[in-house]
Amino acid sequence: MDTVTLSKQNRLFWLGRYAERVYTTTQYMMKQYDHLIDGGTVDYGTFCQKMGIPCVYDSGDDFCRRYLFDSLSPYSVRSSVEAMLGNGMVLRETITSPTLAYLQMAHTAMELAAHSEAPGVELQWVLDDIMAFRGSFDDSVEVETARNITKAGGMVERISLMLRLDWQLERLDRELQKLMNRLYKTDLTPEKDALDVITRRAVGGEDIDRVLLLNSVEGLFRV
């Protein structure tokens, strides 16, 4: 049995956002790690600027380590994993124990990665577990609205990261259209001005200023 409360809406939405944040930033950081193997450099200053987080890192190595694993930093991927699991834990009876277990496994894998000298394998497990979570979530959650809220949260996060990091922008229009389609399957009420901007880009193909588009995506829902 399940019913979606207003507080549950919020958690479902942020579960989707954090799961996507962990997934995308882990992928991104694995590429940075790989780059360091060949003696490459990481432009972490620009990364921090684009993400809007304080640049407190000393070197590329320090950035790769601490942005991923610093448990005291609210901006680290590890903290995002905590937040993802935290939102999942309070939704157990909605998402079911078997689905929650994948979040728990991703959390365990991230803890192992944090204590590993070569964390690439464990980080791959984090990605695997999030993919498994998504499949299980889709299969187990009976309330369609709940499924759509979490998916909408994931889409908002993905588009936000694309715009911030200029990452996979070739997929941007497709992701915006997916978000528009998903929007109407949730109980969430979008902000009108933000929706107008996104519609102009997604449906009308209008060239919208990146910052305006980012702010509109971030401000689409007040949850």
Binding site: M1, D2, T5, Q9, V90, E93, L100, M105
Partner: protein, 437 residues
């Protein structure tokens, strides 16, 4: 059994996978820990269980009658069976509950009765938990995972399936539901037993709710939902009495539901367990439970209390003061393994201090003979060692029946010198097998 032990590591990995944890606060910080699991189960034969089951039902039925009486006619006090001092001075007695009869007259819907088995083979009741006893979720999920890791063990041992706890809980809630949804009410993510709250909500098909999700209007409890507000018919609350309604109890509580007491008083919602049950599981009242059984049911108690003395009575006080070095002294206001003192472990000075405290506040303490209870084997690394263990049996009382869950939480001390088995003090848990033969 050896197969199960061989798979112990796998089972513990599975428990970690499902996040089987409990929380503790240390130095003001919240930490979550995996609940240590030992693969060797406690085994109870069908014959032994038959007697335990009857005794537990008898005891809980008497306790329910006591609660109804003590907040109603008070016959047991008038007849001099239980002194009024032990009722009205109990911190669990709530005058706000006077005259209120909960839906269908059930007070303790989910009772956790703690027992130990003595070396003489006799089961002794250690205490009754009638407020919000926790722990059923751990053996429930552990059984599922043990079966997964070692199916042969269960194919060959004739163990009663215990995975029906969710259905039993649901049946209990449905039987007192006043018309509406079933809700498990939790104080939130940072409660020590949050895993259990969310897991039982899932298993019982109930909605998990926190303070902001529920409200009372016109003496009816509602759940705020995006599909419109829904009436709540039964709420299995995992929040202590004093925090449940800031307009009736602790005014500063932020985790309660204002006016819940009005809905409860009007009979518009069943609250599991009822408010004010603490008066019946007070350590001082424990002494009187066999008398309650005789008084209300006209039966002889099937299960024994541990030999208990009340310093409140002059004769008992004299005995306690003369034998303090061999008795277990319990502060009736404490719980969770706290406030329990073994006289044999106190220095002369500490004994003297305790003696003075007992003389000054005799109602505050009970004293029990230290039961020489059976140790259970646990695995410590590759080695099998013996440790103290108890059993919490779960008894569910609905409108029409009282049943005992054919399992229970067996907790053990990991410290070889300790009798304290509570998870908050480092204890672990085992599965409890009830055999079909």
């Amino acid at each position: 059994m050896n197969d199960l032990i061989r798979h112990a590591q796998q089972i513990n990995q599975q428990l970690a996978r499902y996040g089987v944890k409990f929380g503790i606060y240390k130095n003001g910080e919240f930490h979550e820990r995996l609940f240590p699991f030992d693969a060797i189960p406690r085994v109870i034969t069908a014959r032994e269980w038959d007697s335990l089951e009857k005794g537990l039902i008898q005891r809980v039925n008497a306790l329910n009658l006591f609660l109804k009486d003590v907040y109603g006619e008070k016959r047991i006090i008038a007849d001099g069976v239980v002194p009024e001092d032990f009722v009205y001075r109990s911190p669990g007695y709530l005058p706000q509950c006077e005259g209120i009869v909960p839906v269908k007259g059930v007070y303790s819907h989910i009772s956790g009765i703690d027992l130990v088995k003595g070396k003489d083979g006799v089961w002794y009741i250690l205490e009754d938990n009638l407020r919000i006893p926790s722990g059923a979720s751990y053996p429930l999920i552990a059984r599922e995972l043990c079966r997964r890791c070692s199916p042969d063990t269960f194919r060959h041992n004739g163990v009663l399936d215990n995975r029906n706890y969710g259905q039993l809980l649901r049946r209990t809630m449905d039987s007192v539901n006043t018309g509406g949804i079933n809700v498990v009410f939790t104080p939130g993510r940072y409660n020590a037993a949050y895993f259990e709250h969310s897991y039982l909500a899932e298993q019982a098909g109930a909605v998990l709710a926190e303070a902001g999700d529920l409200y009372v209007r016109d003496s009816v409890l509602y759940y705020r939902s995006t599909q419109g507000d829904q009436r709540v018919g039964a709420v299995y609350r995992r929040v202590s009495d004093e925090y449940m309604d800031p307009l009736t109890f602790e005014a500063s509580s932020l985790i309660g539901i204002p006016n819940l007491m009005a809905a409860y008083r009007a009979g518009n919602v069943a609250v599991l367990n009822a408010f004010g049950n603490g008066v019946a599981d007070d350590k001082g009242i424990y002494y009187f439970v066999p008398k309650m059984i005789r008084y209300y049911l006209k039966e002889e108690p099937i299960l024994c209390n541990a030999p208990t003395y009340l310093p409140f009575y002059e004769e008992d006080r004299k005995y306690v003061l003369d034998h303090m070095d061999t008795l277990v002294i319990k502060d009736v206001a404490e719980a969770g393994g706290y406030g329990v003192v073994f006289g044999s472990k106190l220095t002369c000075e500490q004994l003297s201090d305790l003696r003075n405290t007992i003389l000054a506040q005799p109602r505050r303490f009970i004293a029990q003979e230290a039961i020489d209870f059976q140790d259970l084997p646990i695995m410590e690394g590759e080695e099998q060692v013996e440790r103290k263990a108890d059993l919490r049996a779960f008894v569910l009382s609905g409108a029409d029946e009282t049943v005992v869950w054919p399992s229970g939480l067996t907790r053990f001390s990991r410290n070889p010198d300790s009798f304290i088995v509570n998870s908050s003090q480092g204890g672990g848990f085992k599965d409890t097998w009830i055999l079909s033969r």
